[in-house]
Amino acid sequence: MSMSFALLAIVLLAAASWWFGRQRGLAFQVATQHSLGSVHSLPGYHGVWVALVALLPALAILAVWALVKDRLIATEVLNALPAGAVGSSPDEQRAFLSEVRGLVVGDYAAAFNPHAATAARLWVQAASRLGWMFGSAALLSGAMGAVYAWSRLTPGFRARTRVEKFMLGVLAAASIVAIVTTFGIVASLLFESFRFFQLVSPIDFLTGTHWSPQSTAHAGDDASSGFGAVPLFWGTLFIGAIIAMIVAAPLGLMTAVYLTQYANPAFRKVAKPVLEVLAGVPTVVYGFFAALTVAPLVRDLGISLGIASASSESALAAGLVMGVMIIPFISSMADDALTAVPGAMRDGSLAMGATPSETIRKVMIPAALPGIVAGMLLAVSRAIGETMIVVMAAGLAANLTANPFASVTTVTAQIVALLTGDQEFDSAKTLSAFALGLVLFLVTLLLNIFALGVVKKYREAYD
């Protein structure tokens, strides 16, 4: 029995159980002449409860089947083949089985191993037989569950309470997904980084200034050299925290000031969506634009300034475009912070004769500073985690330079470079991507915690 057929049968069974349960509930209502309170639950709840009791064991059995399917069939096929048909080492067996699977699915027309065709036939037979076994077991247990649940229904049966308890369980389970994801991120980053740090010392990684992991990809070489990540950290800070913020901080702040303090509502209504569109453009589009349009302009500018080393993959091009990308981010955070400043402070300053700009610079911005600073920190955390712009526009040369026209590389660009293309999963080269990811994760996490802390600590002052 195929998986989809079994699923369909179980769904039908559940629907039937629901109907019978509901009919029983309706019958109770008729039997008690609809007198209030004599049947505990509405008929629908009886139906849902019966369906649930049918569904859960059946789905559990199907899930077990899906998990053990391949292993079970493989063992059976290998046992059924004549002795010596396949080598006894696990590698040989795995290669043989993948060949057989290819035959079964139809990926291969013929196989190399003469026994594979026999094995493929056995596989199909075993799959069908075991499938029927598990499928009927699932259906049978579902049907038994339904009958049991149906027979337990009485007018006083607390079907609603039970169904609601189940739903509460589902809600709680959904909320655990977030924890599991966080745990999964931390665990996988830590685990792979730990393996990396067994090959390369963490001190070399965090303080070394020479990054060239490609050259040490072969086993046997000195694996610990070429993994000094300082140039990457510098490149990331240079593009994301320095150049991008030089562009975005004043522009974002002034945009917010203008929109909250000067612009009339009609203008705001037009300008806000423009910023929202700017925030909604996919980063790959910014990357394409940076690489194709901005980078040549920057290079020409560099050459006209007399910088011979101006590269077409420059830190400046990537940083500029990234800065524009985070303008809306800073602007909306600063907007919130400025709006939260009590109007009395502004009115007081204006009443003392200060001009609006003096009020903004000397009263509004200092009052909103925690929020603005937090916004900037969050923007930095976003900029250093940004990937596509730097992959497409900043290049892969790990230079430790402060020349904005030179090519630098970043943590994210290197992660992409290390993990795309052919990869052997155990090499120090691929594992180093996870170590970089761990650093990136920790830094963005700390920036966020710090930013939220700043907001929390100083916000109450004006409430």
Binding site: L168, L171, I179, V281, P282, T355
Partner: protein
């Protein structure tokens, strides 16, 4: 005193102008970006075709008309490539590269529709090669010295001749809208990537919407204020700030290497993006649920509804527009996401349209990335064309979200 006031007023005007400059810069940049991309990309929706007298010779083809009528399958393996190449050579001599390498597909289509063409000659409009296409669209500066431009002098001569004799025409580029990736720019299409995107989004939506909405309901309506709930809230807020590439690393380490799911498949991409979108949906849904006034809950409880009934019969329907808007915005973000999908191998070069959730696929933003790596002039145009499609899709999705918000959102 007067002078000082004038100075202060001048400063005031300067400050105000500064704000305007900042806004103009942002808007100007957006405009510059859009104009550059539309100007570079709209040509990808048009295709140059060249008129070629095609002689379908049964001996070159290897299939006779009778055979083709008896067994249409025979045409699949017939030598249309040879027929087309021979016809192009007869028409243009050593300039046969005027016709695209994929032009034989059109010839086969014509013969499949009408087998009586075998053994006859007919004028057909065939796809032009990329260089001719770029020349016809005026995308090449022909005044540059030959070494500095991608097309040769002889190609320019051939193009001018074709143009003068009316053997070139420009039509809507169906190949671009219906095809998958190809090595030849004139044969590359976005439908493969678009369908990959749709499949991925289906998985993302199927997981992140129910899980996100249920999490929000749990946290807002049922969760007790205890340490466990705090842990859930902290992890959701942190996940919202984690760089997207980290989710790609998670997908690579967990889904591919631990759970052995298929590489490059929409189901893995969808799962990864679902985890990334989840916090966005939870946060939006929570504020939508919070906005439902307590009086509604009190009224329902007052007439005897159980807490679960209050939530699912009264609160959820009222909060649904807000939840849906948040979900759509989260989907729009996932649709434009590239980096995590690169990690799980969705940058494969695929010349066929993906047919299922476990087939190798790529998505629209990744297709943009792949094409942007290609230096040939024709692919620059295709990249911009794919970006136009992506932006149009995102704009319409956001439009739907805004419409939903305005149409159904109730403010109490």
């Amino acid at each position: 005193m007067q002078a000082r006031i004038r100075l202060r007023y001048r400063k005031e005007r300067a400050f105000r102008a500064l704000g305007m400059v900042a806004l103009t810069f942002a808007a100007g940049f957006l405009l510059f970006l859009l104009v550059t991309i539309v100007a570079g990309g709209w040509n990808s929706f048009r295709q140059t075709q060249v008129l070629v007298p095609v002689t379908i010779d049964a001996t070159v083809l290897g299939v006779t008309e009778a055979q083709a009528r008896a067994n249409p399958e025979a045409l699949v393996r017939a030598n249309f490539l040879g027929v087309t190449a021979a016809s192009a050579e007869r028409a243009f001599g050593n300039q046969a590269a005027i016709v695209s390498e994929g032009a034989w597909l059109a010839v086969r289509k014509a013969v499949e529709d009408d087998p009586s063409l075998i053994g006859h000659s007919r004028n057909m409009w065939l796809i032009a090669a990329s260089n001719i296409d770029q020349l016809a669209k005026g995308r090449v500066d022909i005044h540059l010295p030959e070494a500095d431009r991608p097309v040769s002098n002889s190609e320019i001569v051939a193009w001018k001749q074709l143009q003068a004799t009316g053997k070139l025409r420009k039509v809507v580029n169906l190949t671009f809208l219906t095809g998958a990736d190809s090595i030849e720019p004139e044969l590359a299409g976005i439908w493969g990537a678009l369908k990959g995107s749709l499949l991925t989004m289906v998985v993302t939506l199927a997981i992140s919407f129910p899980v996100g909405a249920l999490t929000a309901i749990y946290l807002e309506e049922f969760a007790a204020k205890n340490r466990w709930t705090d842990i859930i809230e902290v992890s959701i807020n942190n996940l919202a700030a984690v760089p997207s590439i980290i989710f790609g690393l998670l997908g690579l380490a967990v889904f591919l290497n631990t759970m052995n799911m298929p590489r490059s498949a929409p189901v893995v991409g969808g799962l990864t993006l679902a985890l990334m979108t989840l916090p966005v949906i939870v946060i939006a849904s929570r504020s939508a649920i919070k906005a439902v006034p307590p009086s509604i809950r009190d009224a329902a409880l007052g007439i005897g509804a159980s807490p679960m009934q209050v939530v699912f019969h009264h609160v959820l329907p009222l909060a649904l527009p807000g939840i849906l808007t948040g979900t759509i915005l989260g989907m729009a973000r996932a649709l434009g996401e590239t980096a995590p999908l690169l990690m799980i191998g969705m940058r494969a070069f695929l010349t066929s349209v993906p047919s299922g959730l476990t087939q190798p696929a790529t998505v629209l933003p990744v297709q943009v990335f792949i094409w942007s790596d290609d230096v040939s002039r024709g692919f620059v145009e295709k990249t911009s064309g794919a970006i136009i499609v992506l932006l149009a899709l995102l704009l319409s999705i956001n439009g739907v979200a805004i419409y939903l918000r305005n149409r159904f959102e109730v403010r109490w």
